[in-house]
């Protein structure tokens, strides 16, 4: 399978007066053609920062310190503004977290979708309104001809998310980054949006990076999953394998929280996410880890390749050869 995106040792820091927050700290992964690549992690694990870093949308105080983001072989971090603009919206698009704030309140929603075409093909946006109606039909907006001429405030959250999705798929990009696209919506609407994404996925055949804090959702839809903890990659593997046989203690704990048994309390991981200004020494998860040993406090674990899965935990370090960090 063809590699669409390859992120190599990416580091993103926030320079705050209190200190430097290492939000994304040496993250590497690959996304292949046509797959849904899930990224899961707690709030503050760096997943949204990562999502914004890929199309270089981060604003100060966030800064990409080092690393490479290779998209179809080109390093996005070295492109100039003009080339970057050609990629944004046409080859990489994004579905944002909160549909209520990502639409400009002064324009009709249809105009804003038409803007995607206008930006890349030129000409007046009115020319593209027919296309927009088609898109609205694809994302199942009822009465699409009329909805082209409604303002964002006249729409429900679910409908606005559909509009944002239609913007993201307008140019049939190679890669769609969906940053918690359902977190701001009701559970019932969530299900509808997920169904829609699945359907669209089949039709437009883009790769999707799906970011969420809802691991159970990812297990259902993703082909491969990356688990993040405190700005670092903990485990990467096929979704079914991770569900069946989680390797990293953090992944194990996460899956344990999902298990529901009658008359039993839900499992919770003790403690909370550490400060990213002064992260714990050694393995970042060791203060909360049930398997922690003395070495965990001192030595940062290498990320290891074990039969096609990536795990960063010393539990596996002795039995297997350390893999290279490509």
């Amino acid at each position: 399978m063809e590699k669409i995106l390859e992120v190599q040792d990416l580091r993103v820091h926030y320079d705050l007066p209190q200190g430097t927050v290492k939000a994304v700290d040496g993250v590497s992964f690959e996304v292949y053609d046509g797959e849904i690549f899930g990224i899961a992690g707690e709030s503050g694990s760096g997943k949204s920062t990562l999502a914004l870093a890929i199309p270089r949308l981060l604003r100060p105080p966030a800064k990409i310190v080092s690393g490479k983001i290779l998209f179809m072989g080109r390093d996005l971090l070295t492109l100039d503004d003009k080339d970057l603009r050609k990629i944004r919206g046409r080859e990489i698009s994004m579905i944002f977290q909160d549909p209520n704030t990502y639409l400009n309140p002064v324009y009709f929603t249809g105009y804003q979708v038409a803007e995607v075409y206008e930006a890349h093909r030129g000409g007046a946006f009115k020319k593209y309104l027919g296309e927009v109606v088609k898109l609205f039909k694809i994302v199942k907006i009822a009465d699409p001809e009329r909805r082209v001429f409604t303002y964002p405030h006249q729409m429900s959250g679910g409908m606005k998310q559909r509009v944002l999705i239609s913007m993201a798929i307008a140019e049939r990009p190679r890669l769609i980054i969906a940053d918690e696209p359902t977190s701001a919506l009701d559970v019932t609407i969530q299900a509808e949006i997920m169904d829609l994404l699945n359907e669209i996925k089949k039709e437009i055949r883009s790769s999707i990076i799906f970011i969420t804090h809802d691991l159970s959702l990812l297990l259902e839809i993703a082909d491969r999953i990356m688990i993040m903890y405190a700005g670092k990659v903990v485990e990467i593997g096929r979704a079914d394998e991770i569900a069946k046989d989680p390797m990293h203690p953090y992944t194990k704990a996460l899956l344990a929280t999902l298990r529901y048994e009658r008359k039993k309390r839900l499992y919770t991981i003790p403690g909370s996410l550490p400060s990213l200004i002064k992260p714990p020494s050694g393995c970042r998860f060791h203060p909360r880890c049930l398997f922690a040993k003395d070495v965990c406090r001192e030595k940062e674990p290498q990320i290891l390749n074990i039969n096609g899965r990536w795990v960063s935990c010393i539990l596996y370090g002795d039995e297997y050869e350390p893999g290279s960090q490509s």
């Binding site: 503004d81 046409r90 698009s93 990502y102 400009n104 001429f149």
Partner: protein, 298 residues
């Protein structure tokens, strides 16, 4: 067919929004009346010389300082010129100067503010420090200095007032822009592959326009005051041109013996300033839905 129907619907939706704004504006009675007053003032500014009963430059010392009467409704000044006619003809100077200076000042100020707030960084710092220095001067003092160096005349007055008021627009626009730039839909527009210039004018500017329009209306009032103050100080349009401020300036020696010489131009200045300010209030209520909920009027 489809296209025609769509375009018709766009027009309809726009009309509806305009009607909403107009209805809100109309519900504010003071602003609504002020609109008519300003309309009247603009009418006399345009047609002053035609509707003036006398030639405003003809002096007749035998009729000097006559109090208001039927033949001279506002009386005559120290040289026997009809005050009503002078006010009618003078309107075009006072209002025209203010209008032009506000337009120029707002244009420059909004452009700089937009640029400054969107780009941030070094240019922002440079522009803001210049604005700091200009704001440190009292407006009228700055205007006096500018007129003194540019020489008297309508054009230099306009430039002087525009230059001394534009920093306020820079500040105002920058403040609004900073807020808008942080909005998520700007990030979304960037993600569509839009250029900075396009985002500035198509996404940031329309969202920051309401407070700018409101502020410009308020500034019409203060520009009239600055223009008249300069006229009063003898730095305005040179005599015998009947500018309202200079009419007060030349009549002030007779304030106690013949107050009507000063009172009537003063009254017109007051009415003009007040009307513009009240319109500003009404516009704020109509254009800014957030403010509307807090300051709803009966």
């Amino acid at each position: 067919m489809e296209r025609m129907r769509i375009l018709r619907e766009i027009e309809e939706a726009k009309r509806k929004r305009r009607r909403e704004i107009w209805e809100t504006f109309k519900s504010n009675k003071a602003a609504y009346i002020s609109l008519y007053i300003v309309g009247f003032l603009i009418f006399i500014a345009l047609f002053g010389p035609v509707i003036a009963p006398y030639n405003p430059y003809d002096f007749d010392l035998s009729k000097a300082k006559m109090p208001p009467s039927l033949s001279h409704p506002f009386g005559t000044d120290e040289l026997g010129r009809d005050i009503l006619s002078r006010i009618f003809v003078g309107a075009r100077y006072t209002i025209g100067i203010s209008l032009a200076s506000v337009a120029i000042g707002a244009f420059i100020g909004v452009l700089l503010g937009l640029f400054s707030g969107y780009m941030r960084g070094l240019w922002d710092t440079i522009i803001q420090r210049i604005v700091d220095v200009m704001l440190a001067f009292p407006t009228i003092l700055l205007a006096i200095a500018l007129v003194a160096s540019l020489g008297q005349g309508v054009l230099s007055l306009i430039i002087a007032i525009a230059v001394s008021t534009f920093p306020v627009y820079v500040r105002l626009t920058r403040g609004v822009v900073l807020q808008i730039v942080g909005e998520d839909y700007i990030a979304a527009a960037k993600m569509l592959g839009r250029s900075s210039l396009y985002i500035m004018f198509r996404h940031v500017l329309p969202n920051s326009l309401s407070p700018i329009i409101v502020q410009s209306t308020y500034y019409m009032g203060s520009s009239i005051l600055i223009a008249s103050s300069l006229g009063f100080l003898g730095l305005g349009v040179p005599p015998p041109t009947p500018e309202w401020g200079s009419m007060i300036g030349s009549g002030r020696t007779y304030l106690f013996s013949s107050p009507h010489i000063v009172v009537f131009p003063g009254l017109f200045i007051m009415i003009a300033v007040l009307s513009f300010n009240l319109i500003g209030d009404g516009l704020r209520d109509a254009l800014d839905p957030k403010m509307r909920t807090y300051f709803r009027r009966g």
